[in-house]
Subunit: 333 residues, 2 copies
Amino acid sequence: MTTLRYDVLGIGNAIVDVIARAEDDFLVAQGMHKGTMALIDEARAQAIYAAMGPAVESSGGSAANTIVGVASFGARAAFIGKVKDDELGRTFAHDIRAASVAFDTKPANSGPSTARCYIMVTPDGERTMNTFLGAAQDLKPGDIDESQVANAAVTYLEGYLWDPPQAKEAFVKAAGIAHKAGRRVALTLSDAFCVDRYRAEFLDLIRKGIVDIVFANERELHSLYETADFDSAVKALRGEAKLAVVTRSEKGCVVISKGAVEAVAAEAVEQVADVTGAGDLFAAGFLVGLARGKDHRTAARLGALAAAEVIQHIGARPAVSLKARADESGLIV
Amino acid sequence: MTTLRYDVLGIGNAIVDVIARAEDDFLVAQGMHKGTMALIDEARAQAIYAAMGPAVESSGGSAANTIVGVASFGARAAFIGKVKDDELGRTFAHDIRAASVAFDTKPANSGPSTARCYIMVTPDGERTMNTFLGAAQDLKPGDIDESQVANAAVTYLEGYLWDPPQAKEAFVKAAGIAHKAGRRVALTLSDAFCVDRYRAEFLDLIRKGIVDIVFANERELHSLYETADFDSAVKALRGEAKLAVVTRSEKGCVVISKGAVEAVAAEAVEQVADVTGAGDLFAAGFLVGLARGKDHRTAARLGALAAAEVIQHIGARPAVSLKARADESGLIV
């Protein structure tokens, strides 16, 4: 058990989700690629919103969802990300603080509005995302709180941070502070198209040891090594990463370290309502396990438990206490 | 089958719900009366929001929920209500139009922001509401579109309209237009405390025949006649109302007309997640039945079906097509 101030600090795009159900035909008509995230400008955001069905608004953002999951396990969590001082920005700040996450990033007073992600949930539970980055683009190195990073067992960064122009500098700064303080740095590859945009840079982060732990799903892994063969991609990642976890939806995950490649099963679920947040919440459970000194298998089981909870309802953040769920499953956090 | 432009036109407060789970202790600490609606000012709204847990935002408003339910049955629906031209106002307008409801009320350009209702959902699924009326207070007689009212089989009004100072004039104007055109007027009593505030006026509306159809739940009925005895309250209502429906949660409802008092069972539900919108959606089904010339029992069964759908998930509007649900149940809309 660590005596640091935080178990996990997350840095990512601060986004409010606008979630609607949609038929597959709608995705086709709108030219959307099912299961992926597309970046959109404000005009496209308005056009999508006008075309989509009745929606609910809910705070989101990949790393932010993860950090809320970390807090839901009863672990100590903090988040750094940029909103504007507007209605949605206040909504984001309320929701993350109400989830017991420390969130002190100064909101932008001018410039574009708080980021929104328009999410279409198809009848199969798959989600297709369209992100207007807005104020999230203003995250700068100056927003990184050195003392928070130095006092977090793990600093967790999302690959999506490569999209806003200055955020990657904030990312690299945070990683440097973390390593100087003897802490670990984790990265999620975020999305297969995101990997496509920044493949060389992501590989560089892994090869130079700027990140210690890599999270990827199958599609992201295949994109990273530009191969359709799972085993050879796993082999390549094992040769480069200190520790990596590849999530495979209902097939569970594989934890890849120098010593072993371990497969861990997924949790059984009754019905998949909305897969939004599945990867984010898997990372939450795994990181809590790591920060609390659990073995990789136990950490992966905590991840599977959190992912199973979030896909059984609409929205990307837990609807119940993950600590209570872990207790019920006999997993001690 | 009517050839009018609308089956049902609703007039009510245009509100965005801010919904969070809460324990019973929270209600006690905040001095909230479980299961009821309290009116709050902006300062209290901020205090409640700061104290409550992570929330989701979802368009609401009692009559607005009903009208979205009407549209979900495939019936033709319109709504009149006042938002401000702000972020939440645009959210409200988007959601109701995306549900195929005609909504043309001009938004306010100045004055208080769009109305918000802070809803606490306790573990038993009960909801406790706190409404900041904001821009909804600006609904005026001039906002009533005469042609819409004259072309709707039923105009449906919420008792909550007695709270904003000028809305009752809009209400009475709409009732007059409807009757002059030979249409029917329905009223929901909204809330037991609301009945407490306006008992004499609500009785006057019923006695003078300004409303033809009355919706109430048991608590509202008891409040209306200031009695704890259900049978004597039903008898009193039967002596005064042309047609009334009293909803009794899992005990179903009674349809009260001069000719008969008919009990109709509730639909069985697996688990109650959130009762918000139960009464609103019951009214939707009943009104669709009435507008389409069904008998009272069939109308009540459509109401029960809609209420059962909405209480099985978080939020006060249907998550699936009520027309499809009715088809599955062999109820022809």
